[in-house]
Symmetry: C2
Amino acid sequence: MITLTEENYIKAIFHLGKQGSETVNTNALAEAMSTKASSATDMIKKLAEKNYANYKKYQGVSLTEDGKRVAVNIIRKHRLWEVFLVEKLNFTWDQVHDVAEQLEHIKSQKLIDELDAFLGFPTHDPHGDPIPDKSGKFIHIEKLSLASAKVGIVYMCVGVNDSSVDFLKYLDNNAISLGTRMEIVHKEPFDHSIKIRLNGRELMVSQTVGKNLFLKEV
Amino acid sequence: MITLTEENYIKAIFHLGKQGSETVNTNALAEAMSTKASSATDMIKKLAEKNYANYKKYQGVSLTEDGKRVAVNIIRKHRLWEVFLVEKLNFTWDQVHDVAEQLEHIKSQKLIDELDAFLGFPTHDPHGDPIPDKSGKFIHIEKLSLASAKVGIVYMCVGVNDSSVDFLKYLDNNAISLGTRMEIVHKEPFDHSIKIRLNGRELMVSQTVGKNLFLKEV
DNA sequence: ATATATTTTTAGACTTATCTAAATATATAT
DNA sequence: ATATATATTTAGATAAGTCTAAAAATATAT
Ligand SMILES: [Mn+2]
Ligand SMILES: [Mn+2]
Ligand SMILES: [Mn+2]
Ligand SMILES: [Mn+2]
């Protein structure tokens, strides 16, 4: 039996440590969990005790195979629910995350299998993030950030790095969504801002935007 | 802020005390919550403190208007999710309750409003229980138990009193579901068993079944 | 009316997850 | 190499929800 809190820590270790294999610092984990380092230490010990995490004092934490399995399953549930909310319940992509944070902890194998089928076995969530299949495999599409895109080439938007409400609304306000095509017009060396052309009009975006928007060549 | 545990106690008080207005014994509440009377006492105090419950020592507990609002909202969510699971995700009526027990605690007004609309504003759950509308109103249809039905009259099954897996599977095995029509053929005075006719065939059911199946005249 | 049984509450302990403050280990700078 | 800074762990408290055992109140029986 695994608690909701344990699940959330495991998920955080997975995300911080590149799929849970790299070692994660106690402070980084505490920061991600909006808690104190002492609390993180307590939980790390508990996860190690339960064989979800590898831990040596002062040496950071990583996930065991069991821990990774748990993490992937929660991520799968989270992203499937996000698809459901957008596709079936008229949520926008900036409204789904908080609800999915709750829904991802519902325990029922049949529920998630049926939801997957009901949605037509989606491979990506509303933010372009891949949805692991039942066996835990991610479909990885190669993508690059707008910041590293090349002038003169046409790309399609395939994801976001930052899924914050503010960023997603910024994209909405500028009519950028998954599938939107854009050409890189100019990259300003001074402040790394980027001029792009989409749907005829030109738009200037900051380096921050550039780093948080994922593209692929079309 | 209200915890999951508080919500479950409030729901139990509501169900035990006929919509929360009648007074509920500490022992009955503990029994319903599968816990000890001392724990129930602690929670009753807490609910009274938060103005969800009326409580005088040794005199039992009932819900305040606030408490009733909370209870009705949870019941609304529970039953809407049950409809979703049956209508959209191929769950059978004996599979939905445990999952709905989890889903009913998800907090998002938009989620429940949109789910309601997505399902076509259903008025009853898969067990025939009424779903309160957004304002908390129940549509009450008059129904009677099979045990109190009259010989020679034709009825339609509209609900169950006992939603246990065993009872629901018993009904499945005997091809009885919501909407099934049946005529009362004979009521046995000795053990109160009942002979009914449905779809041409005759079936003998016990008094227990009679008390747990709800009908209305057609 | 008094004794007995039942119900309910209280007292004190335990678990999980959190916190603050202090101690200890590791990393960095001179 | 030693001092200083940073990161991590430990110690001790707190709050929520639970438990057992004992005390107190209420209900029932003779
Ligand atoms: Mn999300
Ligand atoms: Mn997402
Ligand atoms: Mn139910
Ligand atoms: Mn139901």
